[in-house]
Amino acid sequence: MPVVLQVLQSLTVLVGAPLYVGAISRAESIVASKRGPSVFQPYRDLAKLLRKGASVSDQASWVYAGAPFVVFACYLTVSVIVPIITSQPLPLAFLADLIGGAFVLGLAAFTMALAALDTASPQGGLGASRATWMGSLVEPALILVFFTVGVLSASDNPYLMNHAVRSSPYALVLPTHVLGTLAFFMLVLVENGRIPIENPSGSIEISMIEEGRVTEYSGRHYALMRWASWMKLFLLSSIFMNVFVIPWGLGNAHSLAGGLLAIPVLAGKLALCGLAIVVIDSSFAKLRFFRIAEFLGAAFLIALVGVITSYVVSV
């Protein structure tokens, strides 16, 4: 049964991610008084791109051709180690804890940066340099966020964190947890290139960061890259909701019904998270590039204050 649930969990991420992104962009269009594309548009995009062959520059090496598969595999790996539909570890969850998961995400970012540099296109180099610079600022804040939840659960395993918060709901209003949650949400926005950092709806060449790294890709390679980035948004939002905000409503590792029931519950939680993202996307302007460091500094600071206030909690 755990194996079936393991497969079901990864399938949920694979199938749910395009729908989640489609729903967010539809909601943003509605907020902007437009009709917007259907929520199923990402599936159509994927189907179209997967049918097409990829055109690869004759200057590109195997790094360029292999990168989409590595990136896709990285996000698929993360999908088996974090609590998405069950609150108990599934067979492959031993692979990594949250910091290990951050390493896997780091590997994906590294591979994308290599692939962007490989064809020597100016746009790719620009995107890779910017994204790597941002990544170097995100990591310390992310580690501190893990510390804030680690203080409550004495662990950096996402399942144990989920249990710790679930068994004492009082933890939800502790300053440490509130600050950690706030900082993690800011990092979710940064990691997925949402609005204070980057405009997700259009690719404006001069300000591209995440998109800049994959502009060279086409056809099925591009489909994998897009799908991977949607999975990233889905995964980080799920971790945010399941570990930080609403740790209830997950199935256990032994009943299929519980796992199946957890999927609509997860959809509800993601609707809340998506709503928050839509509100932020529609009400703020994009930051100037060098202000991004201040945004990330603020996330770091909030997480740091969270860790400091834990000094009292743990007494």
């Binding site: 603020a298 204050v305 400091i308 000094y311 009292v312």
Partner: protein, 224 residues
């Protein structure tokens, strides 16, 4: 009279609003626009009056309720509005350029000061489970952050805001530690605050009219 425990609902609300007050101080330290300073200060004062109301509810004391209302009316509404109308609009202040360090540096120093506040208060030594153990270090940090804002900002109006933030930190510590502080003293402090703000308004307006700028960096010219 039993003291506030940190795990009760009142204690949690008080701790959360203290964290909000600290974040507002950080927000003030990390911004560059005068109207933001004032907005964050107003927000901080509203949170402070909420904290005072929580303490008043817990101890069921009419004096503390009065303090909470005065805090909201004076610090939450009157001082921000007066600063906005009388200083920012009249002097056409928009962007604060008279900073002695970059924003990131001052935020990092602010984080270090917060850690320092925890080091000197040593909440682990305070009685177990008392809300003061979590609030007093936070209020000390707010006091230090207000001081830091006065140090890194050279413009007089920005220094005024820093001073007001320091006062908010003192007030937060006071209502948590000694909730039964004589009302007359608190009321006296409020009067001082209003008088000081008015004097600042008058002086800064006057100085600016004379010198076209009111920053303490002008004083460097007086060095022998």
């Amino acid at each position: 009279m039993q003291s506030l425990s940190s795990s009760s609902i009142d204690g949690t609300l008080l701790t959360l609003s203290s964290v909000g007050i600290l974040l507002a101080a950080f927000a003030c330290l990390g911004s560059k626009l005068f109207n933001r300073y004032v907005a964050y200060y107003g927000f901080q004062s509203v949170l402070l009056s909420f904290a005072a109301a929580v303490v008043a509810y817990h101890y069921d004391s009419a004096e503390l309720w009065a303090l909470a209302v005065i805090t909201l009316a004076l610090k939450g509404i009157a001082i921000p509005v007066a600063t906005q109308r009388l200083l920012l609009h009249r002097l056409d202040l928009k962007r604060d350029v008279a900073l002695s360090t970059g924003l990131s540096t001052s935020l990092i120093v602010g984080a270090l000061l917060t850690a320092f506040a925890y080091l000197v208060i040593e909440p682990a030594d305070l009685p177990h489970g008392v809300v003061a153990a979590s609030v007093v270090p936070l209020s000390t940090a707010v006091v230090l952050l207000g001081g830091l804002a006065m140090v890194v900002r050279r413009h007089t109006v920005a220094q005024l805001i820093g001073w007001l933030i320091t006062e908010n930190g003192v007030f937060l510590g006071a209502i948590t530690l000694v909730a039964t502080f004589p009302f007359i003293v608190e009321a006296g402090i409020f009067l001082d605050l209003v008088a000081a703000t008015l004097i600042m308004v008058v002086f800064v307006s006057g100085i600016t009219r004379r010198l076209a700028e009111a920053t303490s960096s002008e004083l460097r010219g007086l060095q022998g």
